[in-house]
Symmetry: C2
Subunit: 371 residues, 2 copies
């Protein structure tokens, strides 16, 4: 009935679920949900931008399927991942008289997915939820794996829960209304999967980037390959006590830059990751771990995708190296003062290094900012 191009199964035992990828799953969600989860009521959480662009399609399908729902619409943007908005969503779900067996739908990008998933996990001590990711970043990364949460004044994603969705519906046509800059930012996370441990995928991306951006069949295939990759990692290490940390390639630098630019339009998350991945490759080759030309090849590919790749690409003035170092030290991947970084031996050969000397990071950053 529903048109599904790819299915990725996330085999997590009693928490297992499917990721469906298809051309019009938002329209078809009502029928799909009515079949899969009979008798439930729905609480849709979305943001103002997505409410305009995509909510009418979802609501039409729910109504056709005769499903009962309430909608909670929040401001768009990273600032929505806050305590205040969390309370608003939880209270909204309770006000809608949703019960523990009912379903929360997160319709939006990573911000809505993280926030609504977290709200579902704590409302009545745990409601089920469904991810309908509408940004490329959410389709390839944040909607899969069950990490949910909000930001703290102390740092990003410091408050949250592991709460797996019951189903992920990635509708390819949703990306048609996504701003090109947001699409490119999500593409940084696509590239990340190749850089971690799949050099063939990176090469395939080099060959198919244009088609992915243009919306050809390679787009769906890229998304499915990313989801399959992430699913594999999550199955192996659901709570990030080990290998899952590899998914943070580029993120320690990236988070520091995002923090420094105030989580603003100056630097989107994926843009920070793009620069962070180039820095991680450059730093690894500076340490004599990785061949220098790989870092150039990574930068070239990201640049073709319209992404920033150097500190100088960030508009405005960055904080001092001390300020950036403090942000790095506060990132949650720090254990007892030693810096943990995802380093690499080259494209597709990333590894977790727990004992990085902060002085070497500082010297490297100092040099990069003067370029």
């Amino acid at each position: 009935m529903a048109s599904i191009d790819h299915t990725v199964h996330v085999a997590l035992g009693e928490r297992a679920y499917d990721i469906l990828i298809g051309p019009k799953l938002i329209d078809e969600a009502g029928a799909l949900l009515a079949e899969k989860f009979p008798g439930r009521r729905y609480g849709i959480v979305t943001d103002e931008t997505v409410a305009k662009a995509q909510l009418p399609r979802l609501v039409a399908g729910l109504e056709t399927a005769g499903l009962s729902y309430d909608t909670i619409v929040l401001p768009a943007g990273e600032a929505t991942k806050s305590y205040a908005m969390l309370e608003r969503v939880v209270e909204g779900l309770l006000a809608a008289k949703l019960e523990r067996g009912d379903l929360v739908i997160a319709l939006g990008g990573g911000v809505i997915g993280d926030l609504a998933g977290f709200a579902a996990s704590i409302t009545r001590r745990g409601m089920d939820f469904v991810q309908i990711p509408t940004s490329l970043l959410a389709q390839v990364d944040s909607s899969v794996g069950g990490k949910t949460g909000i930001n703290s004044p102390h740092g990003k994603n410091l408050v949250g829960a592991f709460h797996q969705p019951k189903l992920v519906l990635a509708d390819l046509s949703a990306l048609d209304t996504l701003a090109p800059r947001q699409f490119a930012a999500g593409y940084a996370e696509v590239v990340k999967y190749g850089l971690i441990d799949d050099p063939d995928f990176f090469e395939w991306l080099e060959a198919n980037r244009a088609e992915i951006f243009a919306g050809g069949p390679a787009r769906g295939e890229a998304i499915a390959r990313c989801c399959a990759h992430k699913a594999r990692v999550v199955i192996e290490d659901e709570k990030e006590t080990g290998v899952r940390a590899l998914l943070n390639l580029g993120h320690t630098f990236g988070h520091a830059l995002e923090k420094d630019t105030g989580y603003s339009d100056r630097l989107l998350h994926g843009e920070g990751v793009a620069i962070g991945m180039v820095l991680a490759h450059g730093f690894s080759s500076r340490l004599g771990l990785a061949p220098g030309q790989d870092s150039g090849r990574v930068a070239a590919h990201l640049k073709l995708a319209g992404l920033p790749t150097t500190l100088a690409d960030i508009p405005g003035t960055l904080g001092s190296t001390d300020v950036l170092m403090a942000a790095i030290a506060q990132d949650k991947k720090v254990t007892r003062g030693a810096l943990t970084f995802i380093l690499t031996r080259g494209i597709g050969q990333a590894f977790i290094e727990k004992n990085v000397d902060p002085e070497k990071v500082r010297a490297f950053l100092e040099e990069k900012r003067s370029i």
Copy 2:
């Protein structure tokens, strides 16, 4: 080394933990923790009353053991189980630079245990925590089983997580500073275990009540038996999808009364439960399910313990029966409009009834309030 009178093991697989019961475990906690969890830092959460009465003992032991800790002290009382206090605890733990592997200590009654346990579960997506329950209610009930959470304007405990502690230390001497009225309120939950499915325990309580209140060896034994009972139920049904609901005996009525009296000093939680248990027995015998004399025997025992047993025992004016019924319908044990109640066939024979006719409850309440 530590003086332990009773040990109850909560066999929950990788979430298994021990409940230790002894005469001076707060003094001994530092040494115990240093041995069990080497290399951790601690975040102590407590309330102002307990900080005066018990915190110095804990801190002295931690310092002797050379452990590093920070303390977060909150106002005492049910109102502390709020979004604002949750944020305060989480931000306090982050400000103390506690890491994911560090430990939160909940030192206090059920309010602190529920709040600190919930804060631990969401800080950095899950920190470990230790319960040091200091009220009788917390020692026999709230510190065991991993239900954590806060209250919503929509009702009690509607926001939270299942998060098991790593260890529970029930120090019998902590109860020496507890107000007698609070002790009696906790005793209502002790009686509850007998009423659910252990008529021998109820009989034993009838024989040993005085010694339990006086602080003889029966006190520790009673606490251990309650913990063993609760552990058994939690092992069978960790997430309350079935039998665990039996622990709510007396709570549907009780919660409605607590709500109606504004969660204030007019009616403590355990006092509401005491009246609720008498009502549950009375209602069951009204439905022809339970012998009438059992409800009298329950009331007599609770009364000897200094507990209220009728609506008329609540100081001030109660809301209308409609208002009480609305509170009952909003309790989280409601599924699709049908009222779920814990009913009984007599002392020690409680059962879950999912299809209680609201009209019969209303008529019963109407009659009881006119007595």
